[in-house]
Amino acid sequence: MTARQFVYETPLPLTATAPARLHTPPVVVTWRHLSGLVRLALLNFALNVVTLGMYQFWAKAEVRKRIWASVRVNGEPLSYAGSGRELFHGFLIALVIVAVPALMLPLFAVVAFGNDGVPIAQVVLYVAFAFLFGFAVWRAQRYRLSRTSWRGIRFGLDGSGLGYAWASLWTLALIPLTLGWIVPWRSTMLQKRLIDGMSLGDRRFTFDAKTGPLYLRYLVMWLVTAALLVLGPLLATRAGVLAATQMSRGDAATLPPEMVAGGIFAGLLLMMIYGLTSAWYRAAQFNHFARSTRLGDIQFNGRMSGFGLFGLTLGNWAIAIASLGLLLPLIQARSAHYMISRLDVIGGETLEAIIQSAADPSAAKGEGLANAFNFDAF
């Protein structure tokens, strides 16, 4: 524990009139160690089975409360005010508005257009889902922010969810047309729409990113991905040819183990290279976005590294596979911990002057849409 952490994690005889500390920063964000998550995850699974899956909403809400409470600003936790009941209602709404029409549409298309109706229905569904996905991202963010508070001051998200969804959709269509080159610009544009609408109390966040700095790293990642996309199938066909000649040569109906092992090793190596490059880019993106975000006089800085993010991702995959997805809360907590530990806060002398916003906290509905897409913050 560093001196800085010690100072802010125990209650201080500090009142609003005390002089500001001169040698420690006014705002510190730390992570409180979260224990007992594995036990909680298993308990949630058992309760899910007993209630035929209905408990999942309350399970999600409790996990979120634990994770939110682990984020400490000046030693005091964020608070998550959402409930399982809100998630459940959102789920029901999404079921009626999204799932049932989605199931009915192919049937109607077939009845109306015969067998030709099927591809039409598929295209319509695909476009609709792409739009809804963007909308769901916005709604989920707004819901979570409205339910998050620090020292009683609520966060919020302003703006138009439909506008965000539309922007997400038309730029998504451009990705294949530009061979992927639009991706950094798109990420930055969507992030700006989100952050510019965010607020803590009466103070708004601002985002002033230029995409330029990201493109250098993206160039590297693009080249690596293109190389892998060419190399991968080449290797696969070479392996297939080798295997075919091997099998036609002898009466052995199986491939020699060295060949299989070599093939698997090569495949894994390619995946590792891609994973590392992708993590390197994503870390740079996080750092860049953090540096471009401001909250009044508070600035942020990101210190993620490609290796660190890659290690985190590998670990998460290992946990997900080993536990068949049951230990998802653990994965979420790990990701949150890493993100918080790599986020710096600079400035913030006027933090305590933020006043509560007038927005009604119950305005934002639950995130049923995001649930329908099986989507979460991390």
């Binding site: 209650p11 909403f57 634990r66």
Partner: protein, 438 residues
Amino acid sequence: MRSISTPSDVLPPDGEGPPTPVRGRFSDGRSAASWVVGIRIERGHLVIEPDVDNDGSPTRVTPLAWPLGAIECGEPIGSKSVDVLIHEPRRAGATVFVADPRFVRALGKAAPQLTGAVTRWKAVQPFVVLAACVAVVVGALAAIDFSPARTIAGLIPQQTRAFLGKQVVRNMVPVGSTCSTPAGKAALDRLVAKLSAAAGGGRTFEVAVSNAKVVNAFAAPGELIVLMNGLLQQAAGPDEVAGVLAHEMGHGIELHPEAGIVRTVGLVVAAELLLGGTGGGNIGSIGVGLANLSYSRSAEREADGHALAILKAARISPEGLAKFFARMERLEGGSSPVSGKNAEGKTADGKTADRSSSGGSSNDDSGFPGFELLRTHPSSRDRVKDIKAAMGTYPAVPAMDAADWAALKAICGETPRAPQPGKPSRKDPVADRPGRDI
């Protein structure tokens, strides 16, 4: 700030809270500023007192009292909690943060509704009751043999059923492998017409023959039946084919194929709902697939009942059906695993023990035909007994004459062989029979 009394009237703590004063940080919810306060549990309330000022004099603000039954916590109190964030009743905005483990434990004891165990139980309780009711209802329905899938299947309109059936047949029978030599088709149509008339209810069944080596027949939705060539070749006489067709018609009359589809869709949706939340969706899909492999025994008994009635109305002896099932059970029960290259797969004892290793379509090119029939049509002594009991109770004529039977056997004369699933199709145009004598 609301107050209940002046400081001098506050009663001494009566042992609910820890003896030493505990400090916390208080925010009034109107701004992000915070003050140090003293906090204690007293008489079912949380009492918050402003702390002394920096210069040592008490401030002039009066204490707050929040009823323990109305406060909320930022996260549920657990056995390992070391701090707690308390929200004002009705979440009006004020919060107190206390980083004292003993206080947290005391609070958990004084207000158990704030602990994780109690909150979880409160959330789970209505659903456990609901799940118990659902289990009771399902159990009762199963006991009286009520099948909601069957009822829903009955509501599907005829056109949709026919459409579904055509889709199923299209999936199961590759295009171009339907057998229909004119003479064979005519013979088959005559038999099917006779059986359809005997089935009654104005139904007309349609039978398609697929040039596949497997010994099987199945009923598709919408009064469609598919017969595999393998079964035709294995049958020793027209009565056996008529018996199998009548059995499949029984399935069609009872809407078993439609009910099966309804059940599958329902199970998939249910599995998604139950297990989707915990990431076990894949396990659910596998389970659904496994659950739908075969008809239940009661379904088979129903089909048998109809089959016997149809055969009786058409004046065809049920002996053919009994013989066919008996022979199939002997053969499939003793057949060797799929990899065997020799064609003589049957063992003398005819045990059904390794039924799981046999059956299914054969991967072997040199041709042990797959005896799928019994895998999807579980047999039993009772069924054969019931069929045999109906024999001889009415005068019977052969299902078709010798010329028609020969034509039917050769119905796949010029049709290319339908490929087995997973096997490349052979170019051999001549339909070679397995050449086995039963």
